[in-house]
């Protein structure tokens, strides 16, 4: 019982008399007496909680008391380190170590796991542990955050991260969950950290005594080093002081220690006017934040070079082909040509004059940095510029920062919402005054890879437009997830539920780091009411989706009993719409087909006489026009796409990054160099573009088929062609 309400008091700690103010804890009194009591859950800048019990002392009570919370009293006699106390502490270390990986990540990285070092100092070694280890981990490790790794097995539930998050930073994300031996920390309602409302301030990681929360350094990369060899970033990288970063509003509320740990992951660079910062198609792993100056952001003008002009009278005369604008590629049902090209920056580029400006306070290169997509555009300093170049952990910190989010949203609403919405063909007619109405109502929401944006069966309450990243649309069919589409930037989803006023018909999942624009149901309906032509088009789209869905459902049903179809399905042939097959019983391997293809396409063949075999046929390496084309995932400028027909085409604003070629599971896309033409983006000479089979679409039949002297080459619809052999036509069955 406390007897005095104020004033100093004297007590004895391990035979040392010490006078302390009223209200001092035993732990602090000992500290003032020059005695350090070992502790794990207590830090000077946090409210003590007394949960680890390492700091227990004999204060004359029945049981030992946690000195970090127990208040000193006048005349109290405290023993901090008697043999029985040491024994208790050592068993406690042993208990904690029995479920703790030793060495944990922190111990491996920096040899400062407080549990392991304290235990070792007390002579308690992991190898000599007498307790049975935890059988099942309390939670699987969580690697979803870009900045921080979570290893629950190393956690000792000291609550330091919880207090760091809530008391120090007021972010209120972390709390305990569960009970007893199965208690653990949780982010929000036990989301993966990367999906939670965590702002990546780093305070929890800095507070953690063990390897439970550790800094994810981007291994093997320091921005100081890579600038030497790379001609595009030949200018010098300057270090940025942590104080300088913390002074920027966009880093407000971030732990300084955390930024120091990531020194080298963010640097400052200066650019002279006219200097190129990044070039379209290049690979990269960094994002840029403009501190001072303006930049031009541009891509080489849309040029025709992927499709080649031909003459009606035979392919042998196409030895010389001429580049021409690709106007006839407009598909049925698509009323307008694209107005804007989407790039990895807070603006879209006008199709006809693909150049725009960014200014101080803008961020670009997010997708390259977070998801390693190639650069979607060239950025050139318009004036002298100062920029921060950063790796993805620092970008993540910035993207999640509340101040930066607010600014980003304001910029988006003010500058980009209009062009972004209208760059989607069916919304192209939305008027400026309506955009003004939407401006304050839309929300920008981020999703981590794998996070579900909307779930099949949930009430539909909003419409989504993709600002950054790729979204996978899937449906549950007969217990398995069926992918319906991969939507890129500019893609939209959530229409069906809203239009039909039914629950969500599909699950939409973030494939990589995704940011979507959310338009709430009432605003969406208002838009349809105001613009009837949009309603008409959307209803057409919805009907089309209905049809496709039915088809997919039935096809899956077919898959159920697919024993004779097994090989057909295993080779993915059912997903192809058009296969180039060579009847090996007729084929003499004369290679006329390959030559014909090369002749038809500037001397570069788009066909290889090689591939998988099905029955007596060789499935040649040539575009299959898949129903679910993986090649479309990731294109930084959205130039590989399918319109309303199911053919995959490569638009002429391709930046030649090669991603689609890497994505195609069948090796059917190749990258070729072409002569540079039209408006120049900076360098002279060749330019790389992706090519794939275009079915020689202006001719009666493909050159390869036409050229085969043995009637061995055929372009077929596989489901139809093989129907007899398989005993069923998968397409017919679907209808």
């Amino acid at each position: 019982m406390a007897h005095h309400d104020s004033g100093p008091m004297t007590l004895t700690v391990d035979d040392v008399e010490v006078t302390v103010p009223h209200g001092t804890t035993v732990f602090d009194a000992a500290r003032l007496a020059g005695i350090t009591i070992p502790v794990l859950c207590h830090q000077q800048n946090q409210t003590p909680v007394g949960v680890c019990r390492i700091c227990v002392c004999d204060v004359g009570e029945r049981a030992l008391q946690a000195s970090c919370v127990f208040k000193a009293e006048p005349g109290m006699v405290v023993k901090t380190n008697t043999e029985p106390i040491q024994a208790v502490r050592n068993t406690l270390y042993e208990l904690m170590l029995s479920d703790h990986p030793s060495p944990c990540i922190r111990q491996q990285q920096s040899h400062d796991c407080e549990l392991e070092t304290q235990a070792a100092a007390a002579g308690v070694l992991p190898a000599a542990n007498r307790f049975k280890q935890r059988a099942v981990p309390v939670m699987q490790a969580d690697d979803s955050s870009v900045a921080i790794h979570v290893d629950y097995s190393a956690c000792i539930l000291c609550d330091r991260c919880i207090r760091g998050c809530s008391e120090i930073r007021h972010n209120n994300v972390i709390a305990r969950q569960g009970k007893g031996y199965f208690a653990a920390i949780a982010f929000d309602s036990n989301e993966p950290m990367g999906n939670s409302s965590c702002v990546s301030c780093g305070e929890c990681m800095v507070s953690c005594p063990t390897g439970a929360l550790t800094n994810k350094k981007i291994v093997g990369q320091s921005l100081f080093e890579d600038s030497d060899g790379d001609p595009t970033t030949h200018n010098k990288a300057y270090p940025v002081e942590t104080e300088e970063l913390l002074a920027l509003p966009v880093f407000k509320g971030v732990s300084g220690t955390f930024l120091e740990l990531n020194a080298g992951a963010v640097v400052k660079r200066m650019y002279k006017a006219g200097e190129v910062v990044v070039r379209e198609g290049d690979n990269g792993s960094t994002a840029f934040y403009i501190l001072e100056g303006d930049v031009d952001i541009l891509i080489g003008g849309p040029r025709a070079h992927v499709t080649t002009e031909n003459e009606q009278d035979g392919f042998f005369k196409k030895m010389v082909s001429r580049i021409r604008p690709k106007t006839q590629d407009v598909r049925e049902g698509e009323r307008t040509t694209p107005t804007h090209i989407r790039i990895d920056a807070p603006v879209d580029l006008p199709y006809n004059d693909p150049i725009a400006q960014l200014h101080a306070g803008d961020l670009f290169g997010e997708m390259t940095c977070m998801s390693f997509y190639p650069r979607s555009a060239t950025v050139r300093a318009k004036t002298d510029c100062v920029m921060l170049e950063m790796l993805r952990n620092v970008l993540d910190v910035m993207q999640k920062n509340k101040t930066f989010r607010a600014k980003l949203e304001a910029n988006y609403r003010g500058r980009a919402l209009g062009t972004h919405l209208r760059s989607v063909p069916i919304f192209s007619t939305v008027s400026e005054d309506f955009i003004d109405i939407l401006r304050d109502r839309v929300e920008l929401i981020r999703f981590a890879p794998g996070q579900i944006i909307c779930q099949e069966g949930e009430p539909a309450d909003s419409f989504f437009l993709i600002r950054i990243g790729f979204v996978r649309v899937s449906q549950k069919r007969l217990g398995e997830d069926l992918v319906l589409a991969y939507l890129p930037r500019g893609g939209y989803f959530g229409v069906m539920g809203l239009l039909r006023e039914i629950p969500r018909t599909a699950t939409c999942t973030a494939l990589d780091h995704v940011e979507v624009v959310k338009i709430k149901a009432p605003d969406f309906h208002l838009m349809l009411d105001r613009f009837p032509e949009i309603r008409l088009q959307i209803e057409a789209v919805a009907r089309q989706r209905d049809k496709e869905n039915t088809f997919q459902l039935q096809r899956t049903t077919e898959r159920q009993s697919a024993q004779p179809l097994h090989q057909f399905l295993a080779q993915g042939l059912m997903d192809a719409q058009s296969l180039l097959i060579l009847d090996l019983e007729k084929c003499t391997r004369c290679d006329q087909c390959v030559k014909a293809c090369a002749d038809a396409h500037d001397g570069v063949t788009r066909l290889l006489r090689d591939g998988v075999r099905f029955d007596k046929y060789l499935v040649a390496t040539s575009c299959r026009q898949c129903r679910d084309p993986l090649c479309m995932v990731g294109c930084p400028v959205g130039s590989i796409r399918r319109k309303n027909s199911l053919e995959v085409i490569i638009e002429d604003w391709c930046v030649g990054c090669g991603l689609c070629a890497n994505n195609c599971p069948y090796g059917n896309i190749t990258i070729h160099e072409f002569d540079r033409d039209g408006k120049d983006a900076g360098t002279k000479g060749k330019v790389r573009k992706a090519t794939s089979c275009d079915l020689c679409h202006d001719m009666k039949e493909p050159s390869c088929v036409y050229a085969c002297p043995h009637d061995a080459a055929h372009r077929v619809k596989p489901n139809e062609f093989f129907a007899g052999m398989l005993g069923t036509n998968l397409d017919e069955a679907a209808k």
Binding site: P84, G180, S189
Partner: protein, 578 residues
């Protein structure tokens, strides 16, 4: 579709008061608590999502995932274990192994119906005195058509059993609350306290702390806002007496709380009851409605200028909620984790305000003393032990039940005279004077009288009077393991000694019952017991080693046979039945 909001008023600064009602409302409507509802509750209450999730995930009552069609939970704590619950659970698990999509068989901590062991909960409906065939029938019924409503039985009434309750000073219901009425009129609080002191009223929840000291402490503690809390969260295996008192003497419990409120100067009383006592909750709410009707709660009661309101607070579950500060945390809408003490609850209890917290029986007996006089109460006890006590006698006895007995009665009388003694041909080998916390005593100590100090002198405790009797079909080492499992299951996890240590204790004892012994095990158990006792934050962890330590102390021969010879005379251990 979104749920209609629950209209629990949100008190500024106490945003989480009532959060359990929000969660319950969601669960009753949807069957579980999905994330989006957690987010909605957080938004409405102006707290962070993690603040709601942390409590929703703490209490076993709340499901965060869609429920399985038939959730079968078998109690396997002390008494039920003695009555074959372990075998029952294994048989049920086998029976429904191929139907695991629809039927889940798992354990549940003691639900306070030990006089009708074994107890099985099917979709939160409690089946007493049950057996395999009956449960299979019930499960099959539930599979076809889920039960809509229905309660389990109340404890058998005094009338049914042909006994009179001695502690009730009122001969007729019309006299109820007359003690409170006269106290409000004369305001002689000092005299009332002196009467309690004279009757030597002690905390009947198990601690035996003199009640008048507690009430005086809360009375003297400065503050405009004070609370009275009745701890009706009896959750210790074997403890069933409060359920009886709440069912048949609710007027005494409430009146005791009202008297305490008047004495300490509190404005609000919470009766914190475990959610498994639905029937008793109903009884209490009816009594409370009656109190409101006759104007004995509210503002300016009977013109005395005294304000006092009562609330029945339904616990979302867990033994740890019975720890006084953990209980207060629960009332505040937090995780039920005990606080570091001091401060003591009389100075800093609910919301940090002075609070007088007592057990159901303590409030009840306060009325006995004030009605019949401290002298009567003091003298009713036998052999120099003052007072009376409600005691539950369960386990391997013929007539398990709740008995009101004078203090000083011996355990032998309780077991043989009140509870009918052992079954035919069986012999009692040991007993727990008060559930797992008291540890086990050998049958040779049955002549010990019911007396706080005399039981304490044996290294045990009188506790809440939850006598659990073990005959020669049971194994004391197995019983120690069962008790250890209970503590492991019910540890809140706040402090590391208890969170990790209780599990490691179970690991060690499981090995022993399987015949796996290591040379250092005795030292290991000693170290582990020591760290639990000395370093745990609250009584749960501190008492967790008691069962095994008591078995080692009082049953050395049995331990030796187990450890050295791997022989279990009851045939329970080493047979793979654990």
């Amino acid at each position: 579709m979104p749920l209609p909001e629950v209209l629990v008023n949100i008190e500024p600064g106490r945003n989480k008061l009532g959060v359990f009602e929000d969660l319950r409302h969601v669960q009753e409507n949807i069957g579980y608590v999905p994330t989006r509802e957690i987010e909605r509750i957080a938004t409405r209450r102006g707290v962070a999502v993690k603040d709601v999730h942390t409590v929703a995930s703490f209490y076993p009552h709340f499901r965060l995932k869609p429920p399985i069609r038939v959730d079968v939970r078998v109690c396997d704590d002390m008494t039920c274990h003695l009555r074959g619950a372990h075998q029952l659970q294994r048989a049920l698990a086998r029976q429904y192994a191929s139907a695991s999509e629809h039927v889940q068989v798992r354990d549940i901590s003691c639900v306070g119906r030990c006089d009708h062991a074994p107890v099985v909960s099917i979709n939160e409906h409690y089946h007493e005195d049950t057996n395999f065939r009956q449960i299979v029938t019930e499960i099959d019924k539930e599979l076809v058509a889920p039960r809509v409503e229905g309660h389990s039985h109340p404890p058998r009434s005094p009338e049914e059993r042909g006994i009179a309750i001695q502690c009730d000073p009122y001969s007729s219901p019309t006299d109820h609350y007359s003690i409170y009425r006269s106290l409000l009129a004369n305001k002689n609080f000092d005299e009332a306290l002196a009467e309690l002191k004279g009757g030597e009223l002690r905390g009947m929840g198990g601690a035996g702390f003199p009640t008048f000291i507690k009430w005086e402490g809360a009375r003297k503690s400065p503050g405009d806002e004070k609370f009275v809390v009745c701890n009706a969260d009896e959750s210790e295996p074997g403890t069933i007496k409060d359920r009886f008192i709440l069912q048949y003497l609710p007027h005494m419990v409430f009146e005791g709380m009202m008297i305490a409120g008047a004495i300490v100067g509190a404005q609000k009383g919470y009766l914190y009851i475990r959610h498994e006592y639905e029937l008793q909750t109903e009884v209490l709410n009816e009594e409370l409605a009656h109190l409101r009707e006759i104007g004995l709660v509210g503002n300016n009661i009977l013109g005395s200028g005294i304000n006092f309101d009562l609330e029945v607070f339904v616990s979302p579950g867990g033994y740890i909620c019975g720890e006084e500060t953990a209980l207060m945390e629960a009332i505040q809408g937090n995780r039920s984790e005990p606080r570091n003490k001091p401060p003591r609850t009389v100075n800093s209890g609910v919301w940090g305000k002075p609070t007088a917290l007592n057990n159901v029986e303590t409030f009840c007996h306060a009325i006995t003393i004030l009605g019949r006089g401290g002298e009567w109460y003091h003298n009713i006890g036998r052999n120099g032990s003052p007072g009376i006590k409600f005691v539950g006698v369960t386990g391997n006895v013929r007539n398990p039940g709740i008995f009101e007995v004078p203090m000083g009665t011996t355990y032998r009388e309780l077991v043989f005279d009140y509870a009918g003694g052992p079954f035919e041909g069986r012999e009692i080998i040991g007993f727990a004077p008060s559930g797992p916390s008291s540890g086990y005593l050998p049958a040779s100590l049955l002549d010990t009288p019911l007396d706080w100090d005399k039981v304490k002198a044996l290294g045990s405790m009188l506790g809440s009077g939850a006598v659990v009797v073990c005959d020669d079909t049971s194994c004391m080492l197995d019983m120690a393991l069962v008790a250890s499992r209970f503590y492991r299951n019910e540890s809140c996890g706040k402090c590391s000694p208890c969170r990790i240590g209780t599990q490691k204790l179970v690991d060690l004892l499981e090995n022993w019952t399987l015949g796996i012994n290591n040379p250092g095990d005795n030292k290991l158990l000693k170290d582990l017991s020591n760290v639990l006792r000395a370093a745990s934050l609250c009584g749960l962890g501190q008492i967790a080693p008691a069962p095994i330590q008591s078995v080692i102390k009082h049953f050395p021969e049995l331990m030796k046979r187990h450890i050295e010879d791997h022989v279990c005379s009851a045939g329970i251990c080493f047979a793979g039945s654990v």
